[in-house]
């Protein structure tokens, strides 16, 4: 009985909409419901925390402004969970577009390819897939520039013969790209890299590595911490050794506490290099625009790494972000 009534209702609704449809035909085309899936790694460290926050902010804002666009956000702690998330989105949420920041390139390549094969619009963020040409849109930070900008700063601003120690991240291609560009920028200059060890983008690990650097080298002029979480650990180790006046620290990614200290002209932290977690916002906005406008959104969009100085720091300061 209930089912039959429901059927009647549907038929009535259909008749109604057909009647109204003629008048609203043009509006209806523009306001067709769109579902966009967003799949990102969960907030396991500062940068990802910021990225999660920016993703949520963008989704809230776009969702409020465009009632016909629905977002499905999923965060995953590992690659397998992310694969499952994406399969679920395709099977049960009937997404029209997917924004994905792959946890790892290899395991995510095939699932994302399936989404593409189903005729959906695919945006890949920051970490490329193992196979080229799958995604419609690629949005990423510039890891080469991230290393180069820091290297150029040291090349041009350290005293002659300046000695630099480097903290590397988790061993990945991303980290290699940054470090190689950093070394290339310093090549041929009179600045010297004393040591490079892995601090794994982690405060505690960076603290330990920096303690050991300080024990090992009586003279250090600069530290490239390459990440602001690591910079926090580095600064604490330097304070413990009482060597704050000897060396400058350059981190990266623009954590709000660090940007604040650059704004306040802290001599220990002269500059920082951006690698904005807000790049996820660019990716989500552009994907939504693809469905809402005729502006072409396919291609590669690389967000440059800028040097944050005391003069421009205000533009990079987001006091409400967790990062």
């Amino acid at each position: 009985m209930i089912r039959r009534n429901l059927l009647k209702l549907t038929v009535a609704a259909a008749a109604l909409s057909m009647a109204a449809g003629q008048a609203l035909a043009q509006d209806a085309a523009a306001a067709e419901p769109v579902v966009i899936g967003v799949s990102i790694p969960s907030a396991t460290h500062g940068f990802m925390g910021g990225l999660n926050w920016h993703a949520q902010q963008t989704i809230d804002r776009l969702g409020a402004a465009n009632p016909n666009v629905t977002f499905v956000l999923a965060t995953a702690g590992d690659a397998a969970k992310q694969v499952a998330d994406i399969e679920d989105m395709l099977a049960t949420r009937d997404i029209d577009g997917l924004v994905v920041l792959p946890f790892e390139s290899e395991p995510l390549t095939d699932p994302v390819k399936q989404v593409k094969a189903a005729g959906k619009f695919v945006t890949v963020v920051d970490r490329g897939l193992a196979e080229e040409g799958i995604e419609d849109l690629y949005v990423a930070g510039d890891n080469t520039a991230f290393g180069r900008v820091a290297g150029e700063y040291f090349r041009d601003n350290l005293k002659a013969g300046g000695k630099i120690v480097v903290l590397r991240g988790i061993p990945t291609t991303l980290d290699n790209e940054r470090v190689e560009a950093f070394q290339a920028a310093l090549e041929g200059s009179d600045k010297q890299i004393l040591d490079m060890q892995h601090g794994n983008w982690n405060r505690d690990d960076a603290f330990n590595v920096m303690q050991d650097y300080l024990a090992k080298y009586p003279e250090i002029d600069a530290v490239w911490a390459a990440d602001d979480d690591m910079a926090v650990g580095v600064l604490e180790a330097i304070a413990q050794a009482g060597r704050e006046d000897e060396m400058v620290v350059v981190g990266g990614a623009g954590m709000k506490e660090i940007v604040k200290r650059i704004m306040d002209k802290d001599p220990q932290l002269p500059v920082n290099v951006t690698y904005p977690p807000a790049l996820i916002s660019s990716a989500i906005e552009m994907t939504a625009l693809h469905f809402m406008s005729d502006a072409p959104m396919a291609g590669r969009y690389i967000i440059g790494s800028q040097l944050i100085t005391p003069e421009n720091a205000e533009r990079y300061y987001f006091p409400d972000s967790p990062f």
Binding site: T44, D195, K216, P322
Partner: protein, 323 residues
């Protein structure tokens, strides 16, 4: 049986002395009091946890949740102190309340683990695998995916708890030494220690001998929880922050230290002093690898693995036929 050096007992100690000699040969900075102080203070967190873990493993249990628990307690402790600061002021009483909260939280968390193992009769591996995920998610959630930072006034007051002490012997080293001595006494000279070993050797025989098996088991988890709380009290003043990446893999380091020290993974034989040696071996390896450029940093993990396996091979148990 011929008389020869009992590697069974002395293996870990020989490995530790070997590492000391190696470190001194590779870099003279190794033996500087500042470096030794750094290494010992860093060992204290894992050290305290590993002493507690010795009791849990000796009674035949296991606790995988300790690293996440430490991160969660650190986050909760920071939140409690930040919340109290405007009420009770930036003074030692606020910090003492925070310390009490960490200890109490540790006892409670340990009790939950122990109760699920002894009263609900679930495998310790499964229970603590579950609570490991729970604590880790909770701290990420509390920090909103970012980092929880201690109020800067309290931070300044609390900082000396990690960084000062009696000369080079900082408070973490003193606490670690005191807990190690107490732990050794508890294991060797008290009824509790004997019961723990008896249960680990054969819980049925222990039960027939009127040992309250479940109660003693529960007590070992509570003791471990309290020691995790104590480790947190020493950890928070170092960087004044906690995040989802705090204490990652501490559980495996603690378990490795216990096993290197000669405690049997299947239970029945506990050596607290061996655990202390195990902890020192693990942190010395890290330190030496940072101080000396003998291998590519990519291979650090392999070197650690080799030394762990060697230390255990040196003191492997004789088969029944050889006894």
């Amino acid at each position: 049986m011929t008389r020869r050096i009992d590697f069974h007992l002395l293996g870990p100690l020989v490995a530790l002395i070997g590492l000391f000699i190696l470190g001194a040969l590779l870099n003279p900075a190794f033996l500087a009091p500042a470096n030794l102080s750094n290494v010992l203070a860093r060992s204290a967190f894992i050290g305290l946890i590993a002493v507690g873990m010795t009791f849990v493993i000796t009674q035949g249990g296991l606790d995988l949740s300790v690293g996440s628990m430490a991160a969660f307690l650190a986050g909760a402790m920071i939140m409690v102190m930040n919340w109290l600061a405007p009420i009770t002021g930036e003074n030692w009483s606020t910090i003492l309340i925070g310390m009490a909260a960490a200890l109490l939280g540790g006892v409670l968390a340990g009790w939950v683990n122990g109760a699920l193992v002894t009263k609900a009769r679930i495998e310790a591996f499964i229970v603590t695998l579950g609570t490991m995920g729970i604590f880790r998610s909770l701290v990420t959630w509390l920090a909103d995916g970012g980092t929880l930072s201690l109020d800067s006034g309290l931070r300044g007051l609390y900082r000396p708890v990690y960084f000062s002490g009696i000369g080079w012997i900082t408070w973490p080293i003193i606490v670690f030494a005191a807990v190690a001595i107490l732990g050794e006494w508890l294991m060797r000279h008290t009824r509790f220690g004997r019961h723990v070993e008896a249960i680990g050797s054969n819980d049925r025989v222990a039960r027939y001998s009127a040992v309250d098996v479940e109660r003693v088991r529960l007590q070992t988890y509570v003791l471990l929880g309290a020691l995790v709380g104590l480790a947190t009290i020493l950890y928070v003043p170092r960087l004044g922050s906690a995040s989802g990446s705090t204490g990652v893999l501490w559980e495996l380091e603690a378990i490795a230290a216990v096993i290197i020290g000669g405690t049997a993974l299947k239970g029945g034989r506990g050596r607290v002093w061996g655990t202390v040696v195990g902890v020192l071996i693990l942190s010395l390896i890290d330190n030496i690898l940072n101080l000396a450029d003998i291998v590519s940093p990519y291979l650090n993990g392999a070197i650690q693995g080799i030394i762990i396996v060697l230390a255990v091979v040196l003191q492997r148990e004789k088969r029944p036929a050889e006894v």
